[in-house]
Amino acid sequence: MPEQDYDKRLDAVLGMIARIAALDFSRELETSPANDMMDAIALGLNMLSEELESQVVAKSKLKEVNEKLEEFASVTAHDLKSPLNSQTGLINLLEHCLDAEENAEAFEYISRLKKMNNKMKCLVEGILEYSRTCSLEISNEVVDLNVLLKEVLETDNICKRASVTVESKLPKVWFTTTGGVQVIRNIIDNAIKYCDKPKCKITVKARELHDHYQISIADNGPGIDASYHEKIFDLFTKVHPYPKENSEGIGLATVKKIIESQKGRIWVESSTGNGASFIFTLKKVL
């Protein structure tokens, strides 16, 4: 092949690579019947361009669908709150109107109604909380995890329900205050909720690694069988042998979503009867 033809074809290949990089999939490279190496390269690039375009379009559609679903969940949960609160009020009024002794059966029904109502409210709150995690990525800042932990312990009155030990000073990380509070709160809440001992003991510590920290929140609860270690982070999944009434299977899914939005990882180390350690990673402040 004459050198200038070869250079022309190479130029066309470089041009194609540049267009693909710019997500311009509108053109194809020419191939010749010679089926030489340059034709093979041109064919390969054309095929890769097609596949990449399909993936980009699919990803864009998926993103749009996800955004619409999240918006729907948020709006629906928000709109459900008001009638649910009204329902709570009405049930309470009904309770006050009736004489407990004369209406034992009715009171039993009211008690069941209240439980269902509360369950519904927890579910709605959980869905709202989960859908709010989408907007967290945009407000990252340097966050002191010691401050966040203290905030959760004080606000939620944790020390009356559990003994919390902080084994090492927690680091400052690149995170969001809201996200950090949510993660700590949800993991600690779970530890207390599922505790099967007279006293719930929680240990918090941090470990510094090359470019991130590992934060661990461990409890002395019943532990989690290995077969559930992945599933417990799925939305609406409850895998405790005796699921709690006020648990909707949203808390850990929310935690995972928040951590992963920060490009972190979360996992559990546990076996039945030996408590559980929830470990998550957060980036160092560079």
């Binding site: 019947p33 190496m37 064919l43 095929m47 890769l48 399909s54």
Partner: protein, 122 residues
Amino acid sequence: MYRESNKIKFTLRSDNILHTTVLPNTVMTLEDGLESTRISAEMVNNNPLPLLCDLTNVIKMTQECRQHFAGQEHNKTLTKAALIVTNPISRLLGNFFLGLNRPIKPTKLFTDYDAALKWLKQ
């Protein structure tokens, strides 16, 4: 058993492996893919068999055709597929079937028939 379309030759070997080859300088389109599936299904009598597919003479395969070969309908006819790739273009195509157009049944690339047959018979 032997069949032929205008682009592909199909041989059902005595060892119950379906062997396909294509005519020189073949461009495979979705229509060709659909026809290949139809003929293969008839030859294996709807009992999936190992497939030995020689891509040597294919000079182009459309995206739709690749997606079809990777999909459920075509893969009902086979248990696993050994693709023979002996030149740059067929090697290129073969690699698409290992990644971007990965079929739902086990698929491997080979440069010679002996190694391919050995794997298919495992």
